[in-house]
Symmetry: C2
Subunit: 599 residues, 2 copies
């Protein structure tokens, strides 16, 4: 019994149309003025078919087979079916979905692309990383590449003929890229010869596309030490002539593949650059800034990976819980005609299922909301709207990355638990979801790094401006709906949490001035609180939309389901903040002054 997957199209429509009203917002942006809701729905339907029918069947195979490196020629073979699925993906034009029309793209909104990628991630996270990294390479070249580099690379990334990578990590540096050592020597023709060793390069080598476009961080000979001496280069697996035709092999070779806990289907490559020819992207020594264009997108993408895993874990655990018979309900048999009750009658099973559902659907709201912000940040004609969208996106990006991936790990573990011993064996597929979900808390900046980014940079570093603006937005929404009696059970705790967060932020600002380590002690708990404020606002809105629909006489069962899930969220998940607040009241020295214990 492998995993099954039904694309959550109905819920996406709830989120995109009934709640966000994306079509109206998107049509205000010149670029998207011509798109309508039917187009979006048709895209989602088609993408759902590809995800469930073509991609999902490759997921377990990919996990069992992994990727194989042939050391004689440095080639990597992906698992059975990966190449064929990618060919279909390219054939159908999916890589071009959200790319610019001038490079052959279809120019669809990011918010729709976000939903498409959620479904791909549900079906096969390891596979989806191959095209996912192409998007990062596309964004970096698009934002910082010269016109000639763009002309050379973007059409092929758009078509999917080529895929991309991000080459940051080296054996001695992950978070701390200032330590990196890969060297770039200027050549007479304006190119650079890159030499060094990169590790943990996702999709770093494979047989799915004819060429790979590596975006590589390296140091120029005159580079200052540390993070201000890093430049960004584009290095093509095969050298290109002026027309972009593939020439001889560029010496950027896969010299090893990692054996990992999960995402086995993705090739996590050690790459050795031995005088590989590359071209500078953007300004010398400003590579880290340029790379952050990729990183921010990648962080939203990682949150989306965990959203996809949470959704498929929920679907399968729900189906199992309705089918598996074991014990009787404590309040008496619920299926007396059967030898035992289906385990969904047991409250802890319901708790696990509802947690996954609330995290999946809340994550979908947040991911879509950020997708729309991205569209507005890039394409609004109004500079102020662009600025506001960028600012809120900066605030929410670490929340999406860390909150959704924390939730995804706990949800996949909870859904695995629903299966009992059957969840621990490969056959049901649930344990793979946990192993795959685990990486999402680590890569693209560990969740602790996200928390420092949020509290240190995005909140305190900005004197709380972006957070205050977000708080006002939540407050204004609450005020708008304050006369709806059935919303009170959501509005009051939301308001209360907002007030506690404001107080906490002020207190932390003061503490941080006296001792910067206070930020480090507080950051992870702080991010969980901001995450719950955000989800609380989202779930309150879902409840509001559902109540209005019910009042309108709509009978779709999604509305009472949303109300139940909102109630569950507020009473069973949001209370996590109580632990966080309690810890934050404690003296930071109980973490910092532990030199004997950690001797």
């Amino acid at each position: 019994m492998p995993l099954t997957y039904s694309p959550p199209i109905r819920d996406m429509q709830f989120v995109l149309h009934e709640w966000l009203g994306v079509t109206k917002h998107l049509q205000q942006l010149p670029r998207y003025a011509e798109f309508d809701q039917d187009t979006f729905n048709a895209v989602l339907e088609e993408a759902g078919k590809f995800a469930s029918e073509v991609l999902a069947p490759t997921n377990s195979v990919g996990d069992l087979q992994g990727c194989q490196l042939d050391r004689t020629n440095h080639s990597v073979t992906t698992p059975d079916g990966f190449k064929e699925a990618y060919a279909q993906y390219v054939e159908a034009g999916w890589p071009a979905l959200a790319c610019e029309p001038e490079y052959g793209g279809q120019g669809l909104p990011f918010v729709i692309n976000q939903c498409v990628f959620e479904m791909l991630n549900s079906a096969n996270q390891a596979w989806t990383m191959y095209p996912g990294l192409s998007h990062g390479a596309y964004e970096a070249l698009h934002a910082h590449g010269s016109d000639s580099l763009k002309a050379l690379y973007l059409p092929k990334l758009t078509s999917g003929q080529w895929t991309g990578t991000m080459c940051l990590t080296e054996p001695h540096c992950g978070t701390d890229l200032g330590l990196l050592r890969t060297k770039a020597e200027p050549q007479a023709d304006g190119s650079y010869a890159l030499t060094g060793n990169k590790i943990f390069i996702s999709a770093g080598e494979h047989d799915m596309a004819e060429n790979i476009v590596h975006l590589v961080l390296a140091r120029l000979p005159d580079a200052p030490a540390g993070s201000k001496g890093i430049s960004l280069f584009v290095v093509s697996k095969f050298k290109l002539d002026a027309n972009g035709e593939l020439g001889e092999r560029n010496p950027i070779f896969c010299t090893g593949l990692e054996h990992k806990m999960g995402i086995h289907g993705n090739a996590t490559a050690q790459l050795t650059l031995d005088g590989a020819i590359g071209h500078l992207v953007g300004e010398p020594h400003k590579g880290l800034m340029a790379m952050f264009v990729m990183m921010n997108g990648a962080r939203l993408g990682v949150g989306n990976q965990s959203l996809g895993l949470t959704e498929i874990a929920f679907q399968n655990a729900l189906a199992y819980a309705k089918e598996r018979l074991q014990m009787r309900s404590l309040s008496g048999p619920k299926a007396p005609e059967l030898p035992a009750d289906p385990i969904i009658v047991h409250p802890d099973v319901r708790h696990q299922l509802m947690s996954a559902k609330a995290y999946a659907e809340g994550g979908r709201m947040l991911g879509s909301y950020c997708g729309l912000l991205l569209d507005q940040a890039h394409h609004s004609a109004d500079a102020e709207q662009r600025q506001q969208a960028l600012s809120q996106l900066a605030l929410l990006t670490p929340v999406v990355k860390a909150f959704l991936t924390d939730n995804g790990l706990s949800a996949t573990i909870g859904c695995q638990q629903v299966f009992g011993g059957h969840g621990y064996i490969q056959e049901t597929g649930m344990e793979q979801l946990v192993r795959d979900a685990r990486i999402n808390l680590i890569y693209e900046g560990t969740n602790a790094v996200q928390a420092l980014d949020l509290l240190g940079r995005k909140v305190l570093g900005d004197q709380g401006k972006a957070l205050t603006a977000f708080g006002k937005q939540i407050g204004a929404w609450g005020k708008e709906h304050s006369q709806e009696p059935k919303l009170i059970e959501f509005l009051l705790p939301l308001q209360n949490l907002g007030e506690r967060l404001t107080e906490l932020t002020q207190a932390l600002g003061g503490k941080a001035m006296r001792n910067p380590d206070e930020v480090g002690v507080a950051a992870v708990d702080y991010l969980r609180i901001v995450g719950h404020l955000t989800f609380g606002w989202l779930w309150a809105q879902a409840a509001q939309v559902a109540l209005a629909a019910i009042a309108d006489g709509k009978t779709d069962p999604i509305y009472p389901a949303k109300l139940e899930t909102a109630k569950f969220y507020f009473t069973r998940l949001m209370p996590e903040v109580e632990t966080a607040f309690k810890r934050l009241q404690a003296n930071a020295n109980t973490v910092l002054k532990t030199s004997h214990a950690l001797a």
Copy 2:
């Protein structure tokens, strides 16, 4: 860089001698009157050497190779080194450690055996399950077997020549053993022929010992339906003659091995019984009761597995955190002579490490405390002490099983996180610890089943007597030390938590009478609160012992380390109860009335 392991002998001595004073308590029991502290220490030293030098090197190999089934003859080959390590284990007499002298055992206390098994589990949980299950089989036969069965089986289980299993689960029943179908037909000679299919049988088939003693649940022909119609049988892999000599193969065959998330080195067997000859253990139809002798011991053993994993995860994460250089401390460079600071300067890294340490050392206190209770329950000359020990053990068993395994999963995940991307690859060994730790929340009764056992049976089912007695013990200890000013920071929150738990228990008693499902909604949070009350008491005692030692002028750095860890525990881990209490205030319907959401 594989995992390293140093047996935590110093901490065991702190727990056993400085805190518990086990020698004094044990010498009051006639059976252990002759043992002294030096003997115990020598046993721990030797066991530590076996664990770290012989067993630990087999752990990663076991994970990579797993077990292999030869379907032509139903034989199972264990990973390289497993058989040899077991031969050394038997040669050194370890299987006999806590067995009765009358069957060749050394008759050492359970509390010492508990510490020995912690070290084995740290070194290789999958391997340790083979001898671990022998203990369960020994206990069941010892408690319920006829004299002739005991004479036949116990000496060989004691010597380790044979190993044991527990055959409970079938494809359609895990928690709900009342559904089991394996049949036992009486034979003319007083034996039974057993037919059926068992799954998930740990250590169910292997090449490490010459024979396997299966304890099998099955139904007699006249058995009533459900859990009151289950009997316990002993089925030897090879038929035995009257002298216990091995004869022909008994038809209990391994027909499949599960592919699992972890514990790959342990053979998780599907066993087909095809008229296998067995003998009744205990009374007909009372097999479930008899099996609970094994299950209770097994539940303590599962907690001990996670304790072992938590300890080794902590040790390796601590070493890595001191060595890995990445970024600077937020409060300025701590190792300016190096290119970056060791990551142990970062507060979140300290938080992860301290969490694992507090859970490991607290778990060691609880495990040892329960080991001593087991000794007293079995061997006290005083009937009242026996009864008190049994009653407290019944209360604490689900706490040990669920609280220690929950903590073990979060601690291994946290320690893996310290390694960043390097924690996700097999090479460092950290991801194996997470995968191995995961099963402990599932088998021997899922943690939700433990929670129902605690709240439903051990607390409410007993009108709170055992819990009240435990609370009084904690209160009396607090009173005894109430004049020690440096203990106030621990005594006050402990007292407060005790009072809140009392109120909560009374409230839940009332709710449960009105609606039994309230127990199911509350149970998991309730267990976490009881676990924290227990750990709070233990850590307060550790602090008290440490403060007294410091006041005595002792300079061993373990004492300030204990104090720091106690402070960390109270301010950073115990606050988890705030979330639990908040949830428990909510209406149970937010879990129960979710029929649309879970449609």
